[in-house]
Subunit: 138 residues, 2 copies
DNA sequence: GAATACTCTAGTAATTCTATAGGAATAATA
DNA sequence: TATTATTCCTATAGAATTACTAGAGTATTC
């Protein structure tokens, strides 16, 4: 299941994507519109800024805004920043690979094979879906 | 990411599926073969038995054994027992539906739509993969 | 310089995960 | 019947993660 962090992050991004002009939107505005704890959202938006998805402006009239076109933001990247690996087991992860502690040999592991399938499938959706598809109607 | 519980459960099932005769296998044998804590495995196998996947026999010469043909055990069901919902958000789950606390209206939620796609895709893999495919070579 | 809004570090409460402990119940066998 | 092997069941505990919260600090605008 998706953590709230990721869900909130996606909702915030789509909120920003829906703005007509790409003007800074304050955290408080997004948090109210999307029913998200303001302080929590604050930390989420900060991660997204550090990852290069958002820009920010301090002071009066400040806020967060998208740095790229919505078409150029695949969901996969956002997912990795907020949720972590897309793969279901670390030994199958492309970006966060780790050996499983209980498997002497990956190639003989039955779970391994199945999870490669699941990963490739999920990945193809998340990689091919951009924030643009995400906000368009129907 | 998959919990260890689910991973261990899948490994144990595939271990049982690989047995030539469908004779009871002791927990201790599986736990040693698959590097799983015996007590932990005990509780996992118990859940699988209660869910109707395994039969058990007590006393000397006892153990666990599969109740169905490997072809008739789709991974999806096992996943639901051990891991829980397949969907990434509860509001999109078929078997564990729950309203999201932060969404006044599901239909206007951008996350909702995407997660239906992800769910359908993952589901089609897990539903169409049986324990049989799982243990066959390559 | 006052008000506004993001930045950053820490901490904390709640929940879930990963087991572990210990004994009761059951079955086979000597 | 006594012994031994095995599952069954309940409870609990430590570790890790999640979901926030607090508050001081910094930059910007008016």
């Amino acid at each position: 299941m998706l953590s709230r962090k990721t869900k909130y992050g996606l909702k915030a991004l789509s909120y920003l994507a829906k703005q007509e002009l790409n003007r800074p939107v304050q955290i408080s505005v997004i948090s109210e519109a999307e029913n998200i704890s303001q302080k929590f959202l604050e930390s989420i938006l900060l991660s997204l800024r550090k990852a290069g998805y958002l820009g920010s402006k301090k002071g009066k009239g400040g806020g967060y805004y998208l740095l790229k076109e919505t078409r150029d933001i695949p969901i996969a990247g956002v997912y990795r920043i907020l949720e972590g690996p897309i793969a279901m087991v670390p030994c199958v992860s492309l970006n966060f690979y780790e050996k499983c502690h209980d498997c002497p040999d990956e190639h003989s592991c039955s779970v391994h094979k199945l999870m490669i399938q699941v990963r490739d499938n999920t990945l193809s959706i998340l990689e091919n879906t951009s924030l643009q598809d995400f906000i368009s109607e129907n």
